[in-house]
């Protein structure tokens, strides 16, 4: 029974992790949750003196666009196309999955990304959970 409960809990947790998005930044970068949209649309590029480098998790992008940016992928691409033409800003780098995002954020000062799984405590800062 205990084994059964544990599996159930793990399944619940696992389901919950599959629905949630976790926004992380490089260790020490304490970004406000309210600024996440601006960061990923190129409106906020610096936090204090740290240049923010956002990365899109291709695996979680649809959920992120829906939950956080409240737009679809076409709109997001058009926005960034205009932004890049108008302001010369480069759109976020596209990263394949959570582990790649995690590695990118860990290694890039000012790096920001989102995961579908609960991020580890070491090397990153958990900014928000959606």
């Amino acid at each position: 029974m205990i084994w059964t409960f544990s599996l159930l809990l793990a399944g619940v947790c696992s389901v919950a992790a599959a629905d949630d998005l976790f926004l992380i930044c490089h260790a020490g970068v304490l970004l406000e949750a309210a600024d996440v949209r601006d960061v990923f649309l190129g409106e906020k590029q610096f936090l204090n003196s740290i240049r923010l480098v956002p990365a899109d998790n291709l695996a979680a992008q649809p959920a992120f666009l829906e939950k956080v940016l409240k737009m679809n992928a076409i709109k997001y691409a058009a926005t960034w196309a205009k932004k890049s033409f108008r302001d010369g800003v480069t759109p976020p780098a596209a990263v394949a999955n959570d582990s790649a995002v995690l590695e990118f954020v860990r290694l890039t000062p000012g790096g920001c990304g989102y995961l579908m799984t609960v991020p580890p405590r070491e090397g990153v800062s958990l900014i928000a959970k959606y």
Partner: protein, 617 residues
Amino acid sequence: MKRATDKLIALQFLAVVLPIAVVLLVQMAADARRAAGLEHSRPLRILAEEARANYKTFTNGAADAVDTGTLGAQSIEALHTTAARLAELANRGETPIVGDAAAVVESLAAVIPTGATLSTLMPLRARVIQGDVLTKAVDDEFERRDEFVVKDAIASAVRQKRAVSAALIITAILTVLFVLATRRRLKARLEADISKERQRRAELETISLRFGVATRAARAGVYELKRDGLDVWWSDTMHELYAQSPQVFKPTMASWLELIHPDDRRSAQTAITTAMSEHSQLRSQYRVVRPDGSVCHIASLAAVATDTIDASPRLVGIDLDITDRVEAEERERNLQQQLRDASRQAGMAEIATNVLHNVGNVLNSVNISASLVTDRVKKPKAAGLAKVVALLKEHAADLAAFVSADQRGKHLPFYLAQLSEHLSLDQQATLLELESLRKNIDHIKEIVSMQQSYSKLVGVPERLAVASLVDDALRMNVGSFTRHGVSLKCEFNDVPEIVVEKHKVLQILVNLLRNAKHACEASGRPDKQVVMRVANQANGVQIAVTDNGIGIQPEHMTRIFSHGFTTKKDGHGFGLHSGALAARDLGGALRVDSAGPGHGATFTLELPLKSPETVYG
């Protein structure tokens, strides 16, 4: 004073102008530098701004193309303009700043056609962004540079402003300092001038006072004549000199001449007119007849000066009362005449003394010779001959028997022979004495003759052997030496003949020998001796008479040849004096040496080989 003031003004001017001029020059240089900087920087910045603005037009167009689907013509044109502006910047030598921007933009312009769609643009997005970054960097760099130039210009202007302020302050300070210094200096100079002026006035007053005192003390009057004597000015002392009251007597040329002695008036007037016409000095002497009838002798000295006001000549002079001097000169003339008379008489007396002395010396020898002759004549040899004559007369009848048989007759021939011999000897001795007498008398004659030379007669030098001269002198004194027991010694060297006046030398030597004999006599010593030495000397001979008599006291050595000096009781002080004078006349000298009292003395007569031609008078 004026020169110093001008110098001060010039210094003040420099103090004001120099700082301003320096600041202006610096300002002009800074302005030029700023203008050049701005002129270079501003067009470049404008080009960079235009490039940037055009590129932004292009990117905005590209962004709009996201919505519209195509790139507008204006955007592509802006892209080309951007490329052109960047190329121009590169052409102006700004390649280091422009860098890759020109190439990136140019390549974009080359690949993006007019009316390009979003699908064309999207693949070029990275290059568009690169172009954006590069054009922004170029624009920023030129903006930064331009801002630097502008900031530098502003800073320079601020510095300039400060410098101008400082210069103005310095100028103001210097001006104040110079004004104060000038004021102080001018004040000091003014005070010094005033002090000098006071001093000059005081000196002038002192000089005037001294002048008044001096002219009064010197009894000198000062006068001035102008306009050929029409204007005459006299000092107070001039009035005193002429015994005229300044209140009553108004000096004019005519009234002045009236006061001058009639005999001197013409010469006085001539002297004044000549000095005025010829502008020469005036020196005249005349007499003035005073109102009381007394006569005053005046010496007038004047010079012609040009008047500083009207340039006319004026005679400025002084009149000196020389009455005392004229009278003193008159008295002096009388005294001089008296002195000449007295001197003539004294000279005559000296000549007489000289003659008497020298004649007296020779007369001693004459006297001795005469005494000897007399003694010989008085000797009874003639009486013996008379006795022989009487015996012969007595035995005239038997003369043969008397001579052969009589005892007295037998001795008679022998006696006669002896008598004859004695008479012959006496005759010879008498003849010698008579010859000596003749020579002495001849010497006396020469002495007299020589003294007459003082009355313009000229002596006759003759060539003589020195030994002969000394012999003659010795002979004149030998008797006296023998009588007084004075031995005589002669030491003659070979000396040449000399040309001298014989009797002058004899006179000197006789005097010296007589003095030597007296010195020996006075010493009282038994070995009285006189030595005569004849020796050569440079260009002449010397005859020395040395005695071992009483000697000469040192204090007498300098006076021994003075007229009237003697140490003998019966001396006249003339022998050595006349001897020294005679030696000098002969071109020689008479010297004396003595080791002191009791050590004898040596008188040395130095004679040249040839005496100078002797001219008396």
